[in-house]
């Protein structure tokens, strides 16, 4: 059983270094999504998320739509527990896993094997757990003898395959993604797709931020459209995508 309950959640980023306010403030308001304002003590704030209330339950496949700066990434970070709401309550039940920035924490000077331990530890796996999965990860990444070479000698594709293979060993109850992962050449892509689909199928709740209509319609059963940090629309995928992207092309 996993669930996410948001009740009037706001996120304000304090800006301590911004002195030039008036003109910049105006410009920002036009150019980006966040709303800049001052709080009671006169401190400059950027409101990234404003008054979000929703409930996600088992089986929800939620897509997040919105322009750059609408608050999608901030919402994902809030869900992952990196940020806590500035006001309101966010209640998250269930183990969270994230496939955002899968290459994070990989050290170019260390070998592929060392990086598996490193990345695994960052994902919350214990050493024996990593040892158990080690062979599977190495086989899946198709790195062969390169696994004991420093990662800086890898090609970009090998780098991604390693990152993908380690990051997808987790089986969380709540999975967070920023766009669908697509890695490697044709044959690897096919296996990666299969592995990712399995992972997504095994989670209770999926939250994915995307700009792709196809992806959202294909994977999600519910879509939240964010604009300027607020929920503009929340409903079944077909309805919201139709409102966001316009009517479906084939009908």
């Amino acid at each position: 059983m996993a669930s996410i309950v948001f009740d009037k959640v706001c996120v304000d980023f304090p800006i301590y270094s911004a002195n030039a306010r008036s003109l910049k403030k105006r410009l920002f308001q036009v150019a980006t999504g966040g709303q800049i304002g001052t709080d009671a003590s006169g401190r400059l704030n950027v409101r990234a998320l404003d008054d979000l209330s929703f409930t996600f339950q088992d089986g929800d496949r939620v897509g997040l739509l919105g322009h750059n700066g609408a608050g999608k990434s901030t919402l994902l970070r809030l869900l992952s527990g990196v940020y806590e709401p500035s006001s309101g309550h966010a209640k998250i039940n269930g183990e969270i896993g994230s496939l955002i920035d899968i290459g994070f924490g990989i050290d170019g000077e260390a070998t592929g094997r060392e990086n598996i331990y490193l990345r695994g530890a960052l994902l919350g796996l214990t050493r024996p757990q990593i040892q158990n999965k080690l062979e599977e990860i190495i086989t899946f990444s198709e790195l062969g003898d390169f696994i004991d070479m420093p990662v800086r000698t890898y090609s970009a594709g090998m780098h991604l395959r390693l990152a993908f293979a380690v990051s997808t060993v987790i089986r969380p109850e709540i999975l967070l993604m920023d766009e669908w992962l697509s890695v490697g050449d044709e044959s690897f892509k096919h296996r990666a797709e299969k592995r990712l689909t399995e992972l997504v199928a095994s989670t209770n709740i999926l939250v994915i931020a995307s700009h792709s209509r196809e992806l959202v319609c294909h994977t999600c059963n519910r879509v939240i459209w964010l604009e300027h940090g607020k929920i503009k629309m929340d409903g079944p995928a077909a309805e919201v995508t139709a409102a966001y992207f316009g009517p479906p092309p084939n009908q």
Partner: protein
């Protein structure tokens, strides 16, 4: 509300300790990263520390006319420990700032970043401590059973360093000028604390102020004295324990209050 945030702070600490694999892996990686492709690796630190102890020992030993078999082990133990303490504090100031990328990316207990740098510095300390027995051998001093008391002493110092790092880490993340102030202060404390000079050289009255009121003297003494075959005074122990108690209470309160804000300050 206040209660839940205190339990949140304690929960952060205990779950950090449960993730010892992560702490050890990251700490090791830091050391390895610094010395990768270098043949001697962290032992370069040992060598430079050894050279420094030798030089300072010769010069100041002459100036103070201290007997070498007393001064050199005193200097070696003091300098090695001080280097550890001061780099833990300096790096503690920036442990959250340095971990910005991780903090903004993964929901890892925040105190992991403090333990990580503590672990890294402990690894370096174990490389440096090798010098001490060599110095003892060189001046022909025999080890004593009191040496084992240095272990609980070091643990107590670590207990103090952890709260100090969390406390300073929070403040330094919010106010970015503090790390500079701290590193200047550490320079001052280095000269105020008997590391390069023997406490017995101080006139009686000055001694009471410069030693008794200096917490770092007590921190050093509970580890250094046993290494030199002496017993730390009861006062050394009590002051160190007392500072740990007060410091931890203050740190838990501060951590409880501002833990959630740290990600926003980065």
């Amino acid at each position: 509300m206040a209660n839940t945030s205190i339990s949140g702070a304690l929960e952060d600490l205990s779950s950090a300790l449960r993730r010892s694999t992560l702490i050890a892996t990251l700490g090791w990686q830091d050391v390895r990263q610094r010395y990768r492709r270098s043949a001697l690796g962290p032992f370069w630190l040992t060598i430079s520390m050894g050279v420094m102890i030798g030089t300072i020992g010769l010069v100041f030993g002459q100036i103070f006319k201290s007997p070498m078999e007393e001064f050199l082990p005193f200097l070696a133990a003091g300098l090695i420990l001080w280097t550890f303490i001061s780099s833990v504090i300096t790096e503690g100031c920036s442990s959250f700032i340095a971990a910005e990328a991780v903090i903004k990316q993964l929901p890892i207990p925040l105190s992991v970043h403090v333990f990580r740098q503590l672990w890294r510095n402990l690894i370096i300390l174990t490389h440096n401590i090798v010098i001490f027995p060599l110095v003892m051998l060189a001046v022909g001093k025999a080890p004593s059973v009191h040496m084992f008391l240095a272990i609980p002493g070091l643990l107590l110092v670590l207990l103090n360093l952890v709260w100090l790092c969390i406390f300073l880490g929070i403040i330094c993340t919010r106010f970015r000028d503090i790390p500079q102030i701290i590193s200047s202060l550490l320079q001052v404390i280095f000269y105020l604390t008997p590391i390069m000079w023997l406490p017995s050289l101080l006139p009686q009255r000055a001694g009471t102020y410069m030693l008794d009121l200096n917490p770092f003297f007590h921190f050093l003494e509970i580890v250094r004295a046993p290494l030199l075959g002496q017993l730390p005074s009861i006062e050394n122990w009590l002051v160190t324990i007392g500072i740990a108690a007060v410091g931890w209470i203050a740190t838990i309160l501060l951590f409880a209050r501002y833990r959630r804000r740290i990600a926003y300050w980065l």
